[in-house]
Symmetry: C2
Subunit: 392 residues, 2 copies
Amino acid sequence: MPAFNNFEFCSPTHFVFGKDAELQVGEKLAAFGAHKVLIHYGKHAKDCGLIDRVAKTLVDNGLEYVELGGVRPNPEINLCREGAKICKEQGVDFVLAVGGGSVIDSVKCIADSAVYDGDAWDLVSKKAPVKASLPIASVLTIPAAGSEGSKNSVISNDELGMKTGYGCDLHRPKFAFMNPELTMSLPPYQTAAGCTDMFAHLLERFFDDAENIPVTDNINLSLMKTVRANAVRVMEDPNNYDARANIMWAGALCHNGIAGCGRHEDWATHGMEHELSALKTEVTHGAGLAVLFPAWMDYVYEENPERFALYGREVFGISTTDDVKADARAAILATRQFFTSLGMPTHLSEFGFVESDFEKTVPTLRENKGEPFGSFKKLTMDDAVAIYKSAL
Amino acid sequence: MPAFNNFEFCSPTHFVFGKDAELQVGEKLAAFGAHKVLIHYGKHAKDCGLIDRVAKTLVDNGLEYVELGGVRPNPEINLCREGAKICKEQGVDFVLAVGGGSVIDSVKCIADSAVYDGDAWDLVSKKAPVKASLPIASVLTIPAAGSEGSKNSVISNDELGMKTGYGCDLHRPKFAFMNPELTMSLPPYQTAAGCTDMFAHLLERFFDDAENIPVTDNINLSLMKTVRANAVRVMEDPNNYDARANIMWAGALCHNGIAGCGRHEDWATHGMEHELSALKTEVTHGAGLAVLFPAWMDYVYEENPERFALYGREVFGISTTDDVKADARAAILATRQFFTSLGMPTHLSEFGFVESDFEKTVPTLRENKGEPFGSFKKLTMDDAVAIYKSAL
């Protein structure tokens, strides 16, 4: 049996990377054929003057625009509904996110529902398929989610107490404007959580039930090495342009699909984390992953310790021995230490979770992921609870 | 000064990879909106029945098609003119290449000139810009040139004795159908030349005058390792599906631009090789590169021996010492040995070149590349002649 699974790969986003990248927004969107742009953002992008700077490039290129701020971490469906309403009422034909993954995810949902007659949550919950979408782009300010080049969006519904991901090639961003200088003012915690999130995107693709696939695995491991080395550097020297640039570009490549081609991928840990930040929307996704991923690793590594030993050797330089399970455990310890070194939390109790919370997360986890879920090891809901508890 | 240069990256091709990928052609092209397809190919694809198999998927999905065979290695402008004429006369709206880089390069030129009023060579020679192009796709049978996902095309003009490359985002392939099984019947020489070509695409991007850029360099080195390891494997075991798949997917990534983001790139050696295969069209591009690249390395490595030492350590496992120039020379020797191990030639005289030939290649080299050319070391025409001679 060949190891290399059939796959399709398409990453059509046009990346504009480097200093002053955001000043090219107006020119590129005008050339694309946009006329009226909805600019969507969170508080910081407005306060620091970035929105005005970007809006000016639109006006300078003969484009009209409207604004919608107010995006929060773990973006909520109601604001997407509002954005879609604005698009419909005002004839918006292009939606621009200025911010991080939350804003870009929100924009994807706005773009889909702006050309849909029903309610936006139909699309997120997959009750209705996305059949069309307005074109979107982003000016990225937080390297983390990889949403700037991905087909994925994760939207919360406070009323239902749910947080759900959906994917669609139609809302793949047309452009991503990525200026590393815009990321220098990020708070250290957010920088660290972003690095953790992108590293986790690689882990989800590396650990599954497929055999080794050198071309893809080598790219994945090379990105892990890059994130690991440069995460330490940006924490130590936040204004280091090269370190910021390496992290920012890696963040896009960690999640555009290139690191998983031909593999099955896992995504159990992301699924489990989404339920936690649905319950407590103040939990930063990357921070939740920093706690859950080592716990997941402890729970599953015996399925294929060789894979963990390979990861430990290539990413952390841990030389392999005759005792492959010990090598695997060393790799897990190195992972935990890496996240801790960035200032990430180590226990779910630090977010205020208690054991009884997991009774609430399991039903929505089952609904979102099905049972069993995951690929490296097929997990039941009992397994999920055991992992949550071990991370408490 | 930051090392990380501004860049733009866009690789919109939709890759359909794996067993029976070619059976999806009709469905994907119909969904794209094609109506009448020109199928373009060389002799082998017709003889082995592949063209008929692909054509059937078009008919099954309600598409019409016309055929044009006859593509040779180092594709010639006259056949492109003929293809463009067929497109214009018969209302073709999609051009499909079935074959390797030569066929795909030819299709790009056909697609451009099918919607251009003047002569096809105007576009290749950059006398006129490409302003529009028919959509194209390929069924790849030779992993080598990376043309299936690139914006580049290299076309020969026998009348003028020229071979010229041009690039344009408008003719980026919409789809690439890549079934590793189709590559199992390649003659060993062509498999080896293909592996050499893709490895050379990485070398051209790795060695330039920019500083280290970890995210890009690590991807590049990871691809070099993949090509090196799996090239040996496909030579030894031509029907090994996984080895073929790794080589085939690596070939696309070696040349879609991902391995050079933020770098200046060099391309001196490719420029010099194109002049040789323009003079003798029977020279396989990869084989020419196998001879010229080590000669170029010998000539230039002292500009930045550290870069060569890094390459030698990461790709060939040559441990670095206090003598960085010796480390660099060891890396060059390993490169030469790698190409030789694949059965590639080592001297230009094996193709029948003599010293006086270089008087003919230099004027067109100057016209195509300008003077000086290259980035790792800026080369004059005298340098080019010295490199040619050292490779004789």
